[in-house]
């Protein structure tokens, strides 16, 4: 178990995948997957079911070995040193998994302790407030929490990890429009603070407001990439026409 205080080389990309291949038996799940995410950048990995999104996450976290290519998270290889890599990453799964017999504050304290970290009660309260969880829910056990409320607890936990990389799996799924908007605002704040954020989703409309770049994942590889600023800034109508229907249909 490793805390987030691992020294990071600021020059290297926070997340870098080059020609990554992952197989399951005879089936190729990721096929020459290549993308990089720098510090202070939000990268949305967009794809339909079966495109390889979950496999990409598992590979970055070091849960799955890759058969070829290279993966680096803050310069470390998850296949060789998964535990060190996971010390760089705050992972927010699609279905937030927390303990129902614990309160929001207890859940955060526990997972922080698992990660070898400790935060003051004030810092925990502040993180929960900034994630948007009502104060009266901070000391309540999670039984009866909605998906959105759990998501907010998990976001507070991710913030408190103070890590350079955030790995988000369908982060706005299940959130109402207002909560989604708040969440996007929070992501932008994290990005501005220098975090590298990888967001895996199939929700094109949900990412256009916050992503700096969007990678379109098809059959385990980046089929196309769009950028949010500069002369090559993406055109939402054109993107939707090209990918939206296919992604949404999937």
């Amino acid at each position: 178990m490793k805390s987030a205080s691992v020294p990071i080389d600021q020059a290297t990309p926070a997340v870098h995948l080059r020609d990554v291949r992952v197989r399951r038996g005879e089936r190729i799940i990721l096929d020459s997957l290549t993308f990089s995410v720098g510090r202070g950048e939000i990268y949305a990995l967009l794809g339909g079911n079966g495109a390889g999104k979950s496999t990409a996450i598992a590979t970055i976290l070091g849960f799955l070995p890759y058969a070829g290519g290279a993966v680096r998270v803050c310069g470390d290889d998850p296949a060789r040193d998964g535990y060190r890599v996971r010390g760089h990453i705050a992972y927010l799964p699609e279905n937030v998994a927390l303990y129902e017999h614990l309160t929001a504050v207890e859940n955060i304290a526990y997972f922080l302790a698992v990660a070898g970290q400790r935060r003051s009660p004030d810092a925990v309260m502040a993180a929960l407030n900034s994630s948007g969880l009502q104060a009266e829910a901070h000391e309540r056990r999670l039984v009866g929490f909605s998906k959105g409320m759990r998501q907010k607890v998990a976001i507070a936990l991710a913030i408190l990890r103070e890590v350079p990389v955030f790995l988000l799996d369908e982060p706005t799924s299940g959130l109402d429009p207002s909560a989604s908007s708040d969440f996007n605002a929070l992501l932008l704040r994290l990005r501005n603070a220098g975090a590298a954020i990888v967001m895996v989703t199939h929700d094109l409309l949900g990412v256009v407001d916050c992503a700096d770049r969007i990678g379109f994942l098809e059959s385990g590889r980046i089929a196309d990439e769009a950028v949010a600023s500069g002369p090559d800034r993406f055109d939402l109508r054109e993107l939707h026409a090209r990918y939206g229907k296919r992604v949404l249909a999937a």
Binding site: A97, H101, V114
Partner: protein
């Protein structure tokens, strides 16, 4: 705080906040305490009762009036099996084997008055003793408290979260095992206290009690490992529960109950009637001491005459009838010993067959180890029977020698006539000088040797479970 303790503490917090778990644990602890208290009290009462009966029997023997020694041979003596203090922990075969033997000349009686025969049928289904609670109920509570230890983390998605936060699978499995192991330790507390009480107050063997506690710790560690293993390899908590309850039913209930039946079918023992018929037949074949042409007794008479350097029995300085009684008892005792050895050998083969069931059931293994260490197994009963037989033989031969030395042949012949019968009597002072029965409990070496194979199986079980956990952990670490 180390990851192991962190995981363990979290598991304890979950159990504390789960009312069902708290109630179940409290019930087992209560049962364990009740079992310990009632068993110790019952053991003390039984021990006092048997000691009282033995004193009464000794007093009755010593209080017999002056009479012919051979009448005392048939008056006999009762030997009561003393209660080993650790029998309160595990009564073993004691309730089934009988606790009192009538010792007399020319016969080797078996023990009678087993508690099971004196009690209701319910006793046959297992007394509430600390051994029963630890062997049968403790694994069940460990199953109910631990089946979801890893499986629920997987079901709920927290396993991925824990790993994403840097928790290793090895730390997770070990932490869960520590948490469940602590519950096992808690369950052991009443039993440990009862053992300490038996050692301090009732003089039980400290090494045996310590080994007993260590054996049960090993046994519960196997279940803890097994529960965590099932929870780790099954995809769902419900599947883990079904697997574990099935394993408990098979290894803790079915196998130990079936083992004696299977051993009995493979190696049958002669019935009591068959044994008695065979012994009686061979006893008659030994010879007739009253027949002057009986080859054995004719040779015996010649040897006696030669030894005393006389030509006729009437010239012997001792009563020849007494010497005949000594020789007759020697021959019959040899016969009894031969039959007893045959029976013990058959029982040993049965025990060997039963012991092999420890390979498929840790409960069968702990039962064997527990009874051996408590000195309440079949071997311990055999040792008691051996001591009782040695005492019987010594007592009868002393009385026979009394007839040879203190009753003249002339007076001995007058014993059948009521008018002169008093001449054949010897002083009642002799009865008081006869030894009394004080069987020795088995030493720690004997008990440890008896428990050795079963303890070996338990260690094997623990190593096998540990290896499986290691393998399961690696598999979990390689997957998502």
């Amino acid at each position: 705080m180390t990851p192991l303790i962190l995981i363990a503490r979290e598991k304890w917090r979950l159990m504390r906040r789960n009312r069902v778990a708290v109630i179940a644990l409290a019930l087992v602890l209560l049962l364990s305490t009740i079992a310990a208290v009632t068993s110790v009290a019952q053991q003390a009462e039984t021990a006092a009762l048997r000691a009282h009966f033995q004193q009464e029997a000794d007093a009755a023997f010593a209080a017999q009036p002056s009479r012919h020694p051979h009448r005392m041979v048939h008056f006999g003596q009762f030997a009561f099996k003393p209660v080993e203090p650790l029998a309160a922990f595990d009564p073993g075969v004691d309730p089934f084997t009988g606790t009192a033997i009538f010792l007399e000349g020319h016969r080797q009686n078996s023990a009678n008055f087993g508690d099971v025969r004196q009690s209701s049928l319910l006793v046959r289904f297992g007394q509430l003793t600390p051994a029963f609670v630890l062997q049968i109920l403790a694994p069940l509570i460990l199953i109910f408290l631990g089946f979801g230890a890893v499986a629920r983390e997987r079901d709920g998605g927290t396993l991925v979260q824990l790993r994403a936060h840097g928790m290793t699978i090895a730390a997770l499995l070990t932490g869960k095992a520590i948490a469940l192991g602590a519950i096992g330790g808690l369950i052991l507390v009443p039993a440990g206290a009862a053992l300490a009480w038996m050692v301090v107050v009732h003089g039980a063997s400290l090494p045996a009690a310590t080994l007993l506690l260590a054996s049960y710790t090993l046994y519960l560690a196997i279940w803890v490992g097994g529960v965590i293993l099932a929870s780790a390899i099954m995809r769902q908590a419900r599947s883990a529960l079904i697997l574990l309850v099935g394993a408990w039913l098979t290894t803790a209930i079915l196998v130990p109950r079936m083992a004696p039946d299977i051993a009995g079918a493979v190696q049958s023992l002669p019935t009591r009637l068959e044994s008695e018929v065979a012994v009686t037949r061979d006893y008659r074949a030994i010879g007739d001491s009253h027949d002057p042409n009986d080859p054995h007794f004719a040779a015996f008479r010649t040897a006696v005459l030669k030894k005393y350097n006389v030509a006729r029995v009437e010239d012997l300085p001792v009563n020849y009838a007494g010497l005949l009684a000594v020789e007759g008892e020697r021959l019959s005792a040899e016969l009894f010993a031969r039959y007893a050895d045959q029976l013990f050998a058959q029982e040993a083969r049965q025990s060997d067959i039963m012991n092999r069931f420890a390979l498929v059931s840790p409960t069968a293994a702990i039962r064997q180890a527990s009874m051996a260490l408590a000195d309440t197994d079949r071997a311990a009963h055999r040792r008691f029977l051996g001591q009782a037989e040695a005492f019987r033989y010594d007592l009868v031969q002393r009385l026979n020698m009394l007839e040879a030395t203190d009753v003249t042949a002339e007076n001995d012949a007058k014993g059948d006539d009521p008018a002169t019968e008093t001449l054949s009597r010897v002083s009642q002072d002799h009865w008081r000088s006869m030894p009394t029965f004080h069987p020795r409990p088995s030493g720690i070496e004997t008990r440890a040797k008896g428990a050795g194979p079963a303890l070996g199986y338990l260690v094997g079980w623990l190593l096998a479970i540990g290896a499986c956990l290691l393998f399961a952990g690696r598999r979990m670490g390689n997957g998502r």
